[in-house]
Amino acid sequence: MSGAERIGRRELAFPGGGEMSRRMREHPWAQTPMGDPGTWSAGLRTAVRICLTSRFPMIVWWGPELRFLYNDAYMPLLGTNHPATAKPGEQVWSEIWHIIGPMLESVMNSGEATWSEDLLLPLSRHGYLEETYWTYSYSPLHDDDGAVRGVFTAVSDTTERVIGERQLAALQDLGAQAGLARDAAEAGRLVARSLGRAAMDVPFAAVYLRRDGGDDLELVATSPADAHPADLPDWPLQEVLAEARPVTVTDLADRAPRLPSGGWQAPPTQAVLLPLAGETGGRPIGVIALAASAGRALDAAYHSFLALVARQSAALVNAARAYQNQQRRAEELAELDRAKTTFFSNISHEFRTPLTLIAGPLEELRSRPDGTGAGGSEQLEVIHRNALRLGKLVNTLLDFSRIEAGRMQARYEPVDLAAVTAELAGVFRSAVDQAGLVFEVDCRPLPEPVRLDRAMWEKVVLNLLSNALKFTFTGSIRVSVRAEGQEAVVRVTDTGIGVAAEEMPRLFERFHRIESARSRSGEGSGIGLALVQELVALHGGSIGARSREGEGTEFTVRLPTGTAHLPAHSLAPAGEPRGVPAAAEPFVQEALRWLPQGDGDEASAALPSPVRAQATPYRTGGGPSAPVRVLIADDNADMRDYLTRLLTSAGYLVSSAADGLAALEAVRRDTPDLLVSDVMMPRLDGLQLVAALRGDPSTAAVPVLLLSARAGQEASIEGLDAGADDYLVKPFSAADLLARVRANVELARLRSHHASWRTALIDSLQEAFLVVDDQGAVVETNAAFTDILGYGPEGLPYPVPHPWWPDRARHPQAHRQAREAFTGLTDPAEGARVTPVTHRDGHRLWVAATFNRVQEQQGRELTVGTFRDVSAEHYALQRDTAVAALSVRLAEAAGVDHAIRGALEQFRALWQARQVLAVTFPEAGEPTVAAAGAGGAAPRWDTLPAEHRARLETLRRGPLLTAISEPGGTAGITVEHPGGLLALRIELGENRPFGAEDRTLLTLLAGRLGQGLHRTHQIDQHRETALTLQRAILGPSRLPDGFAVRYEPAGRPLEVGGDWYDTVALPDGRLGIVVGDCVGRGLQAATVMGQLRSACRALLLQEAGPARTLMALDRFAALIPAAMCTTVFCGVLDPADGRLTYASAGHPPGILALPDGSIRLLDGGRSVPLAVRPGHHRPEAGCTVPARATLMLYTDGLVERRRRPLTEGIVQAGGVLDEGRELTVDGLATSVMARLAPRDGYEDDVALLVYRHPAPLDLTFPADSAQLAPVRGALRDWLGRCELDHPVAQNVLVAAGEACANAIEHGHRDAPGRAVRLRAAATAEHLRLSVTDSGSWKPPQPGRDPGRGRGLILMRALMQQVTVEPGAAGTTVEMHTRIAR
């Protein structure tokens, strides 16, 4: 053999110009055990040729030593082991031989193929050590005699899939943290912990959150958790926060050389700082720093993964923060509720006591013929004083509600603050003197007047002085005025009992009363200091307090001078100097009543001295005996006077004490026959007094009648529990009191005998009591009855129907219930029955009533009933039910809009509303409206009446979660919506009142709705994340020409499924096309899908052909539990001539729409789904996709509908495909998805792949006339593939040629060589062609340039339509002609 001959043979054996081909040609084969290539078997030669000409990494292992032959594409995978031509395999891959050696052996021995999946190889192919994964498949190579002599290995790059799946798992793990954190920092730590499990993708992470809404960032957590703060880089965090966009740090190695590497060989060099987005597109709530693994390029895919991590993290933090806010709001509401209750309790006391004292004397006055009499003027004084007190209280409350509503009308005039304050203080002087205190008034003139609203200022000073006097028993009270800097400072200092340190923070809190050990009066509503604070704030000033228990208290008011701090429209000129204001009198009068000397009252802490009765003393029993002695304990001097007078005139021997402690001492000294005591008293209150008496055997038997302003069963039970014998609620009548006193004195004597009877009596008296005659008429009631229903004894008898029954026409069911309760009556076995009733003032109540039939002596049958008010319990139950029902609706909601609709329906039913509107106000753009209950078309924002719109706008600007009701029967509230604000408006039924209970209920429900919307929104976001990933896995980002694909997840519940499509460019220029459908949904199906898709790809790349690919997939799928029964349509298409071979594993047939309008189904090559019968032979079918025909592959979700045969769906799909044959492939795919979609969206997910043959032509060439011939050649080819008639093809060729020539000659006359683009696409009946250049044509001028005109004439004559679109960036010629069929 000559040298030349040998080289020639070698070129034949090792074809190609690559490095490995060259090395193999030069290899001294004869010196190796493999021998000269000329002696090689045909099988080995073929394998080597395939290997060397393939662009995919491949290896041939040959002979007993598995000598190693490989191609150029494999070189990077070999790293430093290259070159290794024909070395024994064990030497080449010694480090992993323990893994691959046995695999290769098994192939050699059994002749069965095997593979190893996803081997990690750190490769340095792009200038850095890269994390890459490879799947090796090992197939046997046979010698000419059929024996297995070697192994053929194809290698596929699975890096993207492996990392994609890992990232998917990381994001799922992150998503699974939802709902675990209770505050933002905890959420941050959960994020870090989750990322710690994803160190391969995020080797280092740091979460920074904004501190309390400021720009201050706080490091909340790092991953790994033990990262030392000193190792943290100096990030540009503020930049990220300010601009709300990610910043990539590329010099991480310099900034933080010691960062953890996440398991990779090198520490990270790059990191991305991403803003954590706020809930509703507001400012970022923080920044997350995510280092990128040094093993991967920070490319677009990596960026998008990190962006998803940031988005999930933000969602977690936001959710935690929302939870925290809701929690806090709930606590605040509860606190408010408690404060309200306390307030109303106090205020009722405050109203009732003066009322009793007005009503009592008036009653007496009325009973005298001339209305005056001896005590007349004195009693009128009492009335006057108490009227003043009541007036002051009411005024204070009114001030408060004005401030609250922002309606306080201030008038700031320049005032000499020192003079005015001194004058106000002077008013108090006599009271302070009487109290035996030193009063210092030190008001030095200020350099300039201070702007004040006089009326407000009076209240400030008077309240502070009144407060000081109330709590100071010895020492002094001091008032001073000073200028300090730009402020006027007023101080009111006392040497009183002081305030405990723990109470200081709540000193100015509304309705909060400091429970002090001692004061001059137990009276007070707890709003004086709160009002002072509000009033001072209206002046732009501030108030503070310092106090020490037992030493005193100092209040400091600071007022700014000048006018800058006040609204200009409220400024007024100096007014007339005024005298002592009228407002002062009630304060002073009240203060004087606290003091012992005030009206000659003997009591206070002094010994109670008996007062001899003026009338005949009341005596027990009939015979002569000692007068009955009654001790009165009450802190209110008027009340003491009144009771003393009343009981004295009834013949009792009366003494009195001003507080509980004094009363206790008095009782111990001299036990009275009866103690009448107020409940609320300083030092020792009524209940404590009773407890003290009962605790001492010597006083345990003293009968006690408690008087209290606190209405309600609980209060009376409390009193009776403490051991009181009876309980009288203010206001009471004189007769009532006398009757009770008498009864208690009698009872005390009879106690041992009648204890049980007494208990029964009191029990019934505490509840509403009624007697019904045999006609059903109510003939007798008690005070509690009147309290509860508003119907007093003056209206007796109340015949059927009782006026408290709910209206029969409007509330038939409630009416029936009440009728049954009050007349059907009496089944004692039932116990108390709950029924709705209507109070005299119209409001709805619920009472639990019990009735008993009794036989009267005359033989008449009467019914005695008692009931109590259970409205609170009833409404609480109703609230719980409604909240639970709403929660269920929200949990079922599939999306935010759905949740809103569900809530609207419930609101409508609950309030029997005419209509309920929900208007979402987005951050920007038109509000959207959802409605329930209105017939006709759903309203839109622009169709709502202007008045409604205005009210909704007002609602929107108001505070969140605050229920409001408007006259005209509407109620509204706003809640947070994930996209902005949601305003709800309820149009109530006719005359339906909207009470406090309704407001509470609406607030609760709206709060729950807000939470529900938030949760639903989060679920939506998670789903979107999963979908993004699914789409990312699906790819491919670059489709071959002529294809369009779609993936549509199922409607609701939306979950990503296991459907996929794929196109694979095969080395020989053909295309693998695949559509498959894994059983199931969710992450598992998506994972299986990913594996099958990769495997299918790899198999097609080995040029296995469709049937063999599916057979190999059968074996593969048998190994994966959830891959069983996957259906696949697998084809290999030659885009040059449209030839298609395909096989189907139980998949619906492909559809072919031909240009003549007929439809063909690709129903050959069919067999069972994957892994059903592994190892069985699969058939293969072939067909040719004719020119201008459209091929559609799909998954069954596209065509399968309930209660409809699959074939019907396929026929329908064929029809839609045929009708779209004039659309572009992309347009066609869109049209198919839209037209086949069921009304509520696809029930199953859908993958779709559409191809039209031939693929459109798209050529870009330099503007040079030399290009004309090759371009024409390519076009001629393409037209041939379109199978056009010859003359038509020639016409198109000439027209296109003219357009190209024009583009070259005119478009680029001044810039030769720039690009011209020719595109052509054919549909069934039409052909469209466009030529684009980047120059601008001048309009043709006939005569000057006749040739140019001729070109256009030709184009217009040869094509049906020609348009020339000159543009700034270039000129486009569009041509279009019909292709004869």
């Binding site: 011939a1269 000439v1294 020539a1301 001729r1350 030709l1354 004559a1357 040869l1358």
Partner: protein, 105 residues
């Protein structure tokens, strides 16, 4: 690279020059076509342009024929018929088919 085009000029017994083109005529090689025609016209009153073997003729080539229309006679295959007819050249000069008959256009 210019589009392949072979041009030969021959004389008929009657002295009429015949320019025969084989290939395609477009913007890239129209200069050669022009030169051949101009040279032939310099020595002959009329010139027969034989385009029978021309598969493609664009407006650049037509322009050359137009500018010498009164003195040229065109012979072409049916393939060029539509172009020659649409451009109006057939109205200015004689256009014949390869068989000597009128060209279907």
């Amino acid at each position: 690279m210019k589009t392949p085009l072979a041009l030969t000029t021959a004389g008929r017994p009657d002295g009429t020059a015949v320019v025969t083109a084989v290939g395609e005529i477009d913007l890239s090689n129209v200069d050669a076509f022009t030169a051949a025609l101009t040279t032939a016209l310099a020595g002959s009153r009329t010139v027969v342009v034989d385009l029978t073997a021309v598969e493609y003729l664009d407006s650049a080539g037509l322009n050359v024929l137009f500018s010498h229309a009164p003195r040229v006679e065109v012979v072409a295959s049916a393939l060029l018929g539509p172009v020659l007819a649409i451009s109006g050249l057939a109205e200015l000069t004689t256009v014949r088919g390869a068989d000597g008959g009128p060209l279907a256009g």
